[in-house]
C-alpha cells in the first residue's frame, strides 16, 4: 500500500499492562497496519484479543508501550490537541454525563470542540433526525434503554463532525433489530467521507459494514483484507466461517 494512501498508520505498536497480581500482560505484541481515508476498517477478534487496547491507543486514551501512530504522516502526539479535534471516540462502555439531559450532553459535546451555537443547533437537528433521538432529548442517560444510549453515544462522538470515528463495540449487547438500525447509521457515515474504525466481535457486523477487516488474536494481526477477498481466499460463504477456520489454524499451529 502506498504511503500517500494512508490516513492512520500504526507502526509496530506494543502495549503491556501490569495486572493487579503484579504480572505483566502483553495486550499488543507489535501491531502494524494502515487505515485509508474514508474507509470503514473493522477490527475483529475474540474477547481479550487486543481490539479495545488498539482502539483506545488510536483514540489517545492510553499511550503505547512502544511503536507509533501516524495521522496524515505525523505522529499523533506531535500535536495532540489538533489530532483529538479531528477524532470522535465512542467507547465500549456508555459514558454519557448522567447529571445532564441528553440534549445538554450533545450541546456540550459541540461546545467542547468550540462549535458556535448556530453550528451546534444545525448539527443537533441533523443528528437527532439521523439517529431518531427526538423523543429522548429531555431525558437523562439512566432513563434510556441500551439501544438508545448507544445511539446517543455515537451521536455525541459525531457532534463535532470528526474526520475519523472510533467505534468500540458499538452494538455489543443490543437486540438484533437495534443492531441492524445502528448498522445503517454507520453506513451513512461512509457516505459523508468519515473514516470509521469499528471494533467488533460480531462477524456479520464486520462483513456488512467494513471495507477491510483486520483479525487480531493475542495482540497480533492475523489477517487484513476486504471481506470479499477473505471469502474467496478461504473459499467460505461468510466471514464467520473464515474466522472460525482461521482460529482452528492458529490452534493447530500452537499445538504443533
Amino acid at each position: 500500500m502506498s504511503q500517500s494512501n494512508s490516513y492512520i498508520e500504526i507502526k509496530n505498536i506494543k502495549k503491556s499492562y501490569r495486572c493487579t497480581d503484579g504480572s505483566i500482560k502483553n495486550a499488543l505484541n507489535g501491531v502494524s497496519l494502515v487505515i485509508k481515508r474514508g474507509e470503514v476498517f473493522g477490527l475483529l477478534g475474540v474477547n481479550g484479543a487486543g481490539k479495545t487496547t488498539l482502539s483506545s491507543i488510536i483514540a489517545t486514551l492510553h499511550p503505547p508501550t512502544s511503536g507509533e501512530v501516524l495521522f496524515n504522516g505525523e505522529s499523533i502526539y506531535s500535536d495532540l490537541i489538533a489530532y483529538r479535534s479531528q477524532i470522535g471516540f465512542c467507547p465500549q462502555r456508555p459514558n454519557l454525563d448522567g447529571l445532564l439531559t441528553l440534549e445538554q450532553n450533545l450541546r456540550f459535546a459541540g461546545r467542547y470542540y468550540r462549535m458556535s451555537e448556530s453550528e451546534i443547533n444545525d448539527r443537533l437537528q441533523k443528528l437527532v433526525k439521523q439517529f431518531e433521538l427526538g423523543d429522548y432529548l429531555k431525558k437523562k442517560a439512566s432513563e434510556l434503554s441500551g439501544g438508545y444510549r448507544q445511539r446517543f453515544m455515537i451521536a455525541r462522538s459525531l457532534m463535532h463532525s470528526p474526520k475519523l470515528v472510533i467505534l468500540d463495540e458499538p452494538t455489543v449487547g443490543l437486540d438484533p433489530h437495534i443492531r441492524r438500525q445502528l448498522w445503517s447509521k454507520i453506513l451513512e457515515l461512509k457516505n459523508e467521507d468519515v473514516t470509521v474504525i469499528l471494533t467488533t466481535h460480531y462477524l456479520d457486523e464486520a462483513e456488512q459494514l467494513s471495507d477491510r477487516v483486520c483479525i487480531i488474536d493475542k495482540g497480533l494481526i492475523k489477517l487484513i483484507d476486504t471481506p470479499e477477498n477473505l471469502l474467496a481466499d478461504f473459499k467460505k460463504k461468510n466471514l464467520e466461517d473464515v474466522f472460525l477456520g482461521l482460529m482452528h489454524e492458529i490452534k493447530d499451529e500452537n499445538h504443533e
Partner: protein
C-alpha cells in the same frame, strides 16, 4: 497566544459550565448539611459546654475548626464521586479524550469541588454569627487574610481527591478513607485544641502533628478569625499549605496518569 492555550481555556470554561448546570440543588443539600453539623457543634460548644468549664470563646474557636474542615469532609464525597465514576460510568474517560491537556480536565474538577466548599464556607459565617451572636465579633476578623487562606485551603482539599483516587482503586477500598485517613487527620488536626496547648504538655506529639496539613489549616483560620495570639503564625500556615498544594497537584496528576494509564 498559542492555539493550545485558547483551546484549553475554552474547554475548561465549558467543562466547568457543564458541571455547574445542576449546582443549585447540589448546593442546597450541602448547605443544609453544613448548617446541621456546624449549627449543632457551635451551639453545644458555645452555650451548653460552658457549664462543664469551657471558656466562652470556645464556640468561635470551634467555628474556625469547622471552616478549616469543610473541605476535608467534602474530600470524602469528592473522592467517592471520582472513584464511582472511574469504576462505573467513566465520564472522565470521555473528558480525557477531548482536545485538551489532562491538567485542564483535572482543573475543571478541582474548580467544581472548590466552588462547592467555598460556598459552604461563605454561608457559614452569617449563620454562625446568628448562633454565636455576641461571642463572635465580625469586626475582629482579618477578612483579607481569612479570604486568602480559605481560598488556599479549599483549593488544597479540592486537589487531594486525585491523589486518594489513585490509591483507593475500588469502591470497597473507600471504606478505609473515612476511618484511616480523614478521621485521624481531623482528630489530630487541632479541631478541639490549638497546637500551642498540645505543645505545652506534649512537645513531641505536637511536632508530629506538624506533619498534618489540617493543623495548619485550622491554625491559619483561627489566626485570621480570632487573632494571632496563641496560634501558629498565619504566614507559616499560609506557606505550608501553599507547599502542600504544589506537592499535591504534582502528585495528583502523576498518580492519576499512572492509575488510568493516560497519555
Amino acid at each position: 497566544m498559542s492555539n493550545n492555550f485558547i483551546f484549553d481555556t475554552h474547554l475548561f470554561k465549558q467543562l466547568l459550565k457543564a458541571k455547574l448546570v445542576n449546582i443549585r440543588s447540589v448546593l442546597v443539600e450541602r448547605i443544609i448539611n453544613i448548617y446541621v453539623w456546624a449549627g449543632s457543634t457551635i451551639f453545644v460548644t458555645g452555650y451548653l459546654m460552658q457549664s462543664f468549664g469551657l471558656t466562652q470563646n470556645f464556640g468561635p474557636f470551634q467555628l474556625a475548626g469547622i471552616l478549616a474542615a469543610v473541605g476535608l469532609f467534602e474530600l470524602y464525597g469528592n473522592t467517592i464521586t471520582l472513584v464511582a465514576d472511574i469504576e462505573g460510568d467513566c465520564v472522565i474517560v470521555y473528558y480525557l479524550t477531548l482536545p485538551s491537556s489532562i491538567v485542564t480536565i483535572l482543573l475543571s474538577y478541582v474548580c467544581y469541588f472548590f466552588i462547592i466548599s467555598m460556598s459552604m464556607c461563605f454561608t457559614l459565617i452569617p449563620f454562625s454569627k446568628l448562633i454565636l451572636w455576641r461571642q463572635f465579633n465580625l469586626f475582629d476578623v482579618a477578612w483579607i487574610k481569612w479570604l486568602f487562606f480559605i481560598v488556599l485551603i479549599n483549593f488544597f482539599w479540592a486537589i487531594l481527591p486525585f491523589v486518594l483516587v489513585s490509591y483507593l482503586w475500588s469502591i470497597e477500598r473507600l471504606r478505609l478513607l473515612w476511618i484511616r485517613i480523614i478521621f485521624p487527620l481531623w482528630m489530630f488536626g487541632g479541631f478541639q485544641f490549638s497546637w500551642m496547648t498540645i505543645h505545652s504538655f506534649a512537645p513531641l506529639l505536637s511536632y508530629v502533628m506538624l506533619l498534618n496539613p489540617v493543623m495548619y489549616a485550622t491554625e491559619g483560620i483561627r489566626a485570621a478569625l480570632l487573632g494571632q495570639d496563641g496560634y501558629i503564625s498565619f504566614w507559616i500556615c499560609f506557606l505550608v499549605i501553599t507547599l502542600f498544594c504544589i506537592i499535591t497537584s504534582w502528585w495528583g496528576i502523576k498518580a492519576l496518569k499512572k492509575r488510568l494509564d493516560l497519555v
